[in-house]
Structures are given as C-alpha cells and as structure tokens.
Symmetry: C2
Subunit: 134 residues, 2 copies
DNA sequence: ACTTGACTTAGAGTTAACTCTAACTGGTAC
DNA sequence: GTACCAGTTAGAGTTAACTCTAAGTCAAGT
C-alpha cells in the first residue's frame, strides 16, 4: 500500500498542506500517523478525498460532510441515513442549478437584446423585448 | 411616477434597508433624494434592481456589476463592452453549472449505489460500481 | 552540519456580501 | 407629543472555507 506524506498527498490531490491539516482538524479526513507522529495518507485516502471533493462540488457544506463522516464511522446500519442526507443535498443542489439557469436565461436575453441594438439598430426596450420570450 | 421610501422599496423588492444603503454606497443602485435628503426609489429603480438581482443570480460579482454600472452611465457607446462583459459572465456561469452537474452525477451514483446495497444487498464497492457508468 | 519538511498551538488575515449597532439628528403622522 | 421612519458616520460582527504566520521542536537525507 502506498504511503504519502502530507506534502506529497497535497500535490497529488491538488490541495495545500494547510487545507489538509484544516480538514484533519475538522474531521473530514483523518490520516494515520507514523512512529514520529507524522501524518501519512494511503490510497484509501486518495479515494476518500476524491469523493469529498465531489461532495463539496455539489455545494454540500462542511458541516454536512462532517455529519456524513460521523454516520460512515458508525457502519452499515447508517446507510439509509447517509442516503437520505445525500438525497437532500442533491435536491438542494438541483434547485440551485435551476435557479441559476433561470437567471442565466435573462442574462442571455440581454446579450441578444444588445445584439439587436448593435446589428439591427432595434430600439425596443428590454422590458418589452423580454416579454416576447421566456 | 411612483415613489418609494427605502423601507417600502426594501419590502417591495425583498431586500433590507441595510442592503439597499450598502448597494447605494457600492454604487449599484443610487436612488434620488427628496427635499429632506431622504432616498426615494421609482419604477425605473424597480426594474433596475430586478435586473441586478438576475445578474447576481448568475454569480456575477459585485465588482463586475459596478463595472457594468460604470459602462451604462457612459451611454450607448459602451454597449459593445457591456455585451462582452455579460458574455464573459455567461461563459463562466455555464462552466460552473456544468462542473456542478458533473459532481452531482457522482453524488447521484452514490445514492443509487446505496439503493443497490439496501434493496438488493449488492456488495460491489463504489469505485468499481462507478466505472460501469458515466 | 545544514537543509528540508514534518510537527505543534494559537491566533490573525482573507474574501464576498452582507448585517447590524451605536449614537445622534430630524421631519411626519396620529 | 411621542412614536416612527428616515438620515448620518464609523466601525464591528457574521458566515464559510480556507490561508497564513509565528515560534518553536524534531527527524531524516546529503
């Protein structure tokens, strides 16, 4: 099994040693220690941090990930709870994406409207323009 | 033309008076003043704050909105610059959505994997499971 | 021997966008 | 006449997630 010092691991996963010590303190990922009390990470940790980064990428908060870690530590009896936790994050994340998309649509319409002004010298105001779409 | 005090306007647009004074200070939306130096907002401001909130909703930063405001103040000669600014925000926002979606896909797969464990007592590990999709 | 990289605790600084408090003034409505 | 809403400046506090510094120790590698 490969062993990585905090520095090597940081490079491998694209984080800084500061962040990793911070995650350790926050109990997101707690590495083992060698005989000199130095942290070392293994390939399981590579998988685990990878998954954590996916969770973060969905907008899951650190406190929620901590909760997830707690449940995980308790073993298979908490699988249903973990699933529910992820489902609620999923729901929220999808809602956030949809909201952002709807704002993005307005922004896109504004760009189109500018295009109309620039290319065809259209002079309808944006509020009227926007009504004709959506 | 309707006039709104800061309090009425705050209620109307769903912000607080603190936030509106902050936006004033930040030059996002600068209302007119009455004879007693009190801010008042009109229907143009309603439209404008609405648009600002759409911009914010796309993830556009306040500094970028300030830049946009600056250009707008300079009149029609800056339309092309404004369009370009919005296009760059649009591009970034779409990229962020796509990234979030890709993380969300992994999270969804994990939920499905939990389902397999719970309903069908499947025992394949997640890393193997995940390889079969995407 | 010396550099490098690890360790510790404790706490300060950063970023973005608010959010609120203090302490005071002043016009409007009931 | 008093409550209410507005105004001001200045600055502190909040949230999330880092990010970095200080000041010191300790062990391995060249």
């Amino acid at each position: 099994m490969n062993k990585y010092s905090i520095g090597k691991f940081a490079t491998k996963v694209g984080l800084t040693t500061y962040t990793l010590r911070y995650y350790d303190k926050q109990k997101l990922i707690i590495p083992k220690r060698d005989e000199n009390n130095r942290r070392y990470y293994d390939d399981e940790d590579v998988k685990w941090i990878g998954f954590i980064l996916h969770l973060k990428g969905t907008g899951m908060l650190m406190t929620e990930i901590q909760e997830y870690v707690e449940l995980r530590k308790q073993g298979d009896s908490t699988i249903n709870q973990r699933k529910q936790l992820l489902q609620s994050v999923r729901k929220r994340s999808i809602a956030e994406i949809n909201e952002r998309k709807s704002h993005l649509k307005i922004l896109s319409l504004k760009i189109d409207w500018y295009d109309g002004k620039l290319k065809y010298k259209v002079n309808e105001n944006f509020e009227e323009y926007i009504k004709r779409f959506r």
